[in-house]
């Protein structure tokens, strides 16, 4: 029998589209460069239209790829590898970016769409540099297209008979958050290309005035917004899908999105200094370049396999080499152009005082850059260590937390302090007046917490184990400080506007926000950050328990066993295990536990359904479907960690996660603030309607506030507490008798060998599981290996003296030493090498010292120039005093009257 050689017209046309797009990109690049260099309109226009044509080609290729997914064209290898016929249409479309090859095409598509919009909006304003902008974007596109054409063509077909059905998408990616999380993160990454293109174009054309800055700032804000959205959605996905009770694990893929977020945020602040004071041009261009560099570096990290991660794409040396070359080109060209234009970029930076908003922004820039470089360093440290010493170390959550917590707290303080400072200089009396209320709010909060919640005095290690501070208490104090500061800003701003316009407070507040969107939108973002910190603070008080229940309540009754054996008490709640059911559909088998939660007063809070799903195409990889009961103060989070269908035995891990809801709400506030900053002036002009009556106006505002609150709460309280498929949707599923299909699933491992004391918990948290679960500690990992290792820790500590602090530390160190001898240094989550703390410490302290030394110089320079400035001002006012100028002064006053 002769093998049928498959032919896919979709693959053929898709490949041709990519090849033609390559030619179109080369044309747009060449025409753009030549057009702006020769000041030729026709060539610049040709490059712009060429770029639009390129976008259409990429759109066509992407449409063909999605069509291949929805029409099950399994002759295309990528389609067969990442989808199957039983998947829903939404997940088939998600498969487009679910694998490496498709994600690269998706990147090109998103950049094509973004660049089309960016060029269409800006070509008129920046025609002197738009050719260069197109050229830079096309260079980036050509790089990714090269990867597609030469290494990772998603349209590659089988040379022999294709499979009848595909292998299906990774079960972990079949989650509704995963449908929107990668696109938003990619959009954030891609949006950083536009500011980079404008920055390089400004350098190439020599137009380094502030004109380009406005456009760049908007695109950086979009980049910031989408990166924030991508990061928070990733956190939500991890919270619901991975079943470890947390939402952030400093995984390299998460860090890849966080690093450019830090530099983008730094740019958004320092760009204001350039606009206000005309300084820091080189610094801002550096931040634009750095943000783009970090987006490409993050992509390189997750796609080349140089770091180990839960959801990286695997090792690929060829791809890694191509990325390294591209990163080198970015650096060489950017630095070269900045050096070439250094004379035009040179500005005389001077600050009037340390107590000024610009210095607070500079400090904020230092902290944000320190965060970005620390995350970069710590993420790459295992790879660097392997390259230098030959041994790979691990960097776990505790190490990141020790460094990032203090940096985060300083940022939080600045989020409240900077809005209180004036540009140039805040005098001491003004400083006192501005800070009094926020500091008072912080002091009252701290005192109240000490009295009513003494557990907030809990000490946490910062930087090193020896340095311990009541971090939670400080955090809550700073949150109160930020909320106080921002509230005061809104209150005073509204009061001033009421006095200036004579309108009512609600109208004045809306007018204030709409007329100063960037400023007050930024304040809302700060408020969102404070709310997120409020949610994060709850993590310190997380409670966890692992329980094994022999049988559900119904089976216990049948067997005349006490029903009490089917329930447990934890965290002030009672959990009753009611049933265990097994259902199956075309796509997966599901084992679902039914559990009823009651509070301390005996009130039933509801029924939850923690489950395990086994996708038929998942190669035995079961997914955890957690059940979450969302309350304003805490989440009750239950995971089914193991089960035995024959006996009805089930293992549960329950978490009480205080305040976690506020992390999601905080993000909503942050997103709302970002949107306020992005409102165009045209929209504001249209919104300036004259309201009918005061009552009508109040009703309008109430409706808006209600809608925003409902949307925020609705989205924030989403929870995976699905009823078992068989119960609610019997037609779609088939009930399987106990014991059929799935059998036991890791029954008992998560609950086996749980720690008996704090020292054991500390050691288990510090030791990483070597089972391949990617950086989970043996305390959290649900596998059998982790259970055995926990037993080993308990065995080692069984005869240890734990009576004093010193003896507990000794026992802890002894356990760690034994594990290092058995598994190598990579079993520790905190690297002990001096380089691991020396470099970040030197960088952070060196940066701080440099900041103050340079700051003093700037301030001194400013003082020296003060006399000259005063003289200039006097001269200017003198000049303005002539009769001709009095006419102009009147004209100016007229124009000022029309300025909001």
């Amino acid at each position: 029998m002769q093998d049928h050689v498959p032919f896919s017209p979709i693959a053929l046309v898709g490949t041709i589209a990519i090849l033609v797009a390559y030619i179109a990109a080369a044309w747009a690049f060449a025409a753009g460069i030549a057009g702006n260099a020769r000041k030729s309109r026709r060539l610049v226009n040709a490059s712009v239209y060429g770029m639009y044509g390129f976008s259409a080609l990429v759109g066509l290729a992407s449409a063909l790829m999605i069509y291949a997914f929805v029409s099950h064209d399994f002759s295309i290898k990528y389609v067969a590898a990442t989808s199957d016929t039983t998947m829903s249409t939404a997940y088939k479309i998600t498969s487009f970016w679910g694998g490496l090859d498709g994600s690269l095409l998706f990147w090109v598509l998103v950049l094509a769409l973004f660049s089309t919009v960016a060029i269409a909006v800006n070509h008129r304003k920046h025609r002197d540099m738009i050719g260069y902008v197109v050229a830079v974007i096309m260079v980036v596109q050509v790089f990714f297209l090269s990867l597609l054409i030469f290494t990772k063509n998603p349209f590659n077909t089988y040379l022999t008979t294709p499979p009848i059905d595909g292998q299906g998408l990774n079960p972990l990616l079949q989650n509704y958050w995963m449908v929107i999380h990668p696109p938003s993160l990619y959009t954030g990454f891609v949006a950083a290309t536009i500011p980079f293109a404008f920055g390089i174009a400004a350098l190439a054309s020599g137009r380094l005035d502030d004109l380009w800055l406005g456009s760049v700032r908007v695109w950086m804000l979009i980049c910031f917004g989408f990166l924030s959205l991508g990061l928070i959605l990733g956190g939500r996905w991890a919270y619901e899908e991975l079943g470890w009770g947390g939402y952030w694990a400093w995984d390299p893929v998460e860090n890849a999105g966080l690093m450019p977020w830090f530099t983008a945020t730094a740019f958004l602040h320092s760009a204001i200094i350039q606009e206000q004071r005309g300084t820091m041009k080189t610094w801002n261009l550096g931040l634009v370049v750095m943000t783009f560099f970090l987006t490409v570096f993050g992509t390189f990290m997750t796609r080349s396999g140089i770091v180990q991660s839960v959801h990286a794409f695997g090792e690929d040396n060829v791809l890694a080499l191509q990325f390294v070359v591209f990163l080198a080109v970015i650096l060489i060209v950017s630095v070269g152009l900045i050096v070439h234009r250094s004379n035009k970029l040179a500005t005389r930076t001077e600050f009037d005082s340390f107590y000024s908003r610009e210095f607070a922004f500079l400090l904020n820039n230092w902290i944000l850059l320190a965060c970005a470089f620390f995350v970069l360093f710590a993420t790459m440290f295992p790879t660097i260590s392997e390259a230098v010493n030959g041994s790979r170390v691990s960097v776990g959550i505790p190490f990141f937390n020790k460094w990032m917590t203090p940096l985060g707290l300083i940022l939080l303080f600045l989020a409240g302090a900077a809005p209180l400072l004036a540009w140039r200089k805040t005098t001491r009396s003004r400083l006192k007046e501005q800070f009094m209320f926020p500091l008072g709010a912080a002091a009252v909060t701290i005192v109240a917490l000490l009295i009513f919640f003494p557990q907030t005095k809990h000490l946490t290690s910062l930087f090193v184990d020896e340095l311990k501070l009541p971090v939670t208490l400080i955090n809550f104090g700073l949150i109160a400080f930020v909320v106080g500061s921002i509230s005061q800003e809104f209150w005073r701003g509204t009061s001033v506007r009421v006095r200036q316009t004579g309108s009512d407070p609600i109208t004045s507040l809306l007018g204030l926000v709409l007329s100063k969107r960037r400023k007050y939108g930024g304040y809302i973002v700060h408020l969102g950050v404070a709310v997120i910190f409020f949610g994060i603070a709850g993590k310190a008080y997380e409670q966890r328990t692992d329980r094994t229940l022999e049988r559900p309540a119904a089976m216990a009754q049948q067997a005349n066993k006490p029903v009490g054996e089917s329930s447990f008490q934890f965290g002030g709640y009672s959990f009753r295990y009611d049933a265990l059911s097994h259902t199956s559909d075309d796509h997966k088998d599901a084992v679902t536990a039914t559990m009823t939660i009651t509070d301390a007063n005996g009130h039933t809070l509801g029924t939850i359904y923690p489950a395990k799903w086994d996708y038929h195409k998942g190669e035995g990889q079961m997914t955890t479907e957690v059940a979450i009961r969302v309350l304003a103060t805490e989440d009750v989070y239950v995971v089914l960690t193991g089960f035995d269908l024959d006996t009805g035995l089930a293992n549960f891990t329950a978490f009480i996660n205080p305040l976690i809801l506020w992390v999601w709400i905080g993000f909503m506030v942050l997103g709302f603030g970002t949107l306020v900053c992005l409102i165009p002036q045209r929209v504001v002009d249209r919104l300036q309607w004259k309201p009918k009556t005061r009552l009508g106006r109040a009703a309008d505002v109430s409706i808006v506030i209600t809608v925003v609150c409902v949307v925020m709460l609705g989205i924030a309280s989403q929870a995976r507490a699905d009823a078992p498929a068989g119960a609610g949707n019997a037609a779609a599923t088939e009930h399987i008798p106990a014991g059929m299909g799935m059998g036991n699933s890791s029954a008992g491992y998560a609950t086996k060998n749980r720690p008996n004391n704090d020292t054991e918990t500390r050691a288990m948290r510090e030791l990483l599981c070597p089972c391949g679960c990617a950086r989970q500690s043996i305390l959290d990992c649900e596998c059998g290996t982790a259970a055995d290792l926990r037993g080993k820790v308990m065995g080692l500590m069984a005869n240890a003296d734990l009576s004093s602090e010193a003896s507990r530390d000794h026992a802890y160190d002894a356990v760690l030493a034994v594990f290092k001898a058995d598994y190598g240094e990579s079993v520790w989550s905190t690297p002990r090498s001096s380089a691991s703390w020396l470099f970040p410490a030197l960088a952070a302290l060196g940066g701080l010292a440099l900041l103050f030394v340079v700051g003093r110089r700037f301030v001194a320079r400013s003082s020296a120039a003060a006399a000259a400035t005063t003289a200039a001002t006097t001269a200017a006012t003198t000049a303005a005093a002539s009769s001709e100028d009095e006419t102009y002064a009147d004209k100016l006053d007229d124009e000022l009257a029309d300025t909001d």
Binding site: W27, K39, R41, R42, L43, V44, N45, Y49, G53, S55, A56, L57, G59, L60, A63, L64, I66, Y67, V70, S71, T89, R124, K125, R127, D128, L211, L421, A422, R424, T426, T427, R428, R430, E433, Q434, E489, R492, G493, V496, R499, Q500, T869, T870, A872, T873, T874, A875, A876, T877, T878, A880, A881, D885, Y888, A889, K891, D893, E895, L896, T899
Partner: protein
């Protein structure tokens, strides 16, 4: 055939010429007709796709429609690219100033007006002391007046003949010379008083001066 295509593209050059100030050139008489042709091609194609699928809208049908949109956009932009590439080039001194000199001055004026308002607002919010606010506002006002003057002169220049512009320049230089002599004579200047309408309670000037 190539020559024919080139001629056809050259016929479209008004579209390309006008595209400097906007992709849609207003001086192209055939613009609407061209867009109409592409719009009609798009709609006809979509209707055909739907008809072929018996107007049963499914995910594949929607994606095919989007793919067809890409094809139409591709043809349109390839056409425009060709038309722009063969269009005659023009030498324009304003190339380096997309919004023009007056536009740049207007932009600076708007920035200064907002800066004055912002300083007044900061003073009313009790962030700036009276002395600092007055100093800042005086600087911004002086520069704003200079900018308004320049805008007026530029606007005036556009309406004057070359002869009138030269006369005006000579007169302005003479004025400047006289004023320089006056300033040299150290006459006590009369500074412009910034207008701070919304004054909070009096500052402690001595204390702030000491700081």
């Amino acid at each position: 055939m190539a020559v024919g295509l080139l001629r056809l593209l050259r016929l479209s050059t008004p579209l390309a010429k006008g595209a400097v100030d906007g992709i849609a050139a207003t001086d192209d008489p055939l613009r609407n007709a061209k867009l109409g042709v592409f719009g009609a091609a798009l709609v006809i194609g979509w209707v055909f796709i739907l008809w072929a699928n018996k107007f049963h809208i499914t995910a594949p049908v929607v994606i095919v429609c989007l793919g067809y949109l890409c094809v139409v956009a591709l043809v349109l932009n390839l056409w425009r690219t060709g038309a722009a590439a063969v269009a005659p080039d023009e030498v324009n001194d304003d190339w380096g100033r997309p919004i023009g000199q007056v536009g740049e001055l207007e932009k600076e004026k708007r920035t200064l007006l907002k800066a004055i308002r912002e300083a007044e607002f900061d003073f009313a919010m009790r962030k700036l002391s009276k002395r600092d606010a007055e100093g800042l506002i005086a600087q911004y006002r002086a520069r704003a007046i200079e900018v308004i003057k320049q805008i007026d002169h530029k606007d005036g220049d556009a309406k004057l003949t070359v002869r009138e512009q030269i006369d005006r320049e000579v007169k302005a230089r003479r004025e400047l010379g006289k004023r320089g002599q006056k300033v040299g004579a150290a006459v006590e200047p009369k500074p412009v008083e910034p207008k701070l309408e919304d004054k909070p309670e009096a500052d402690p000037p001595a204390k702030e001066a000491a700081e």
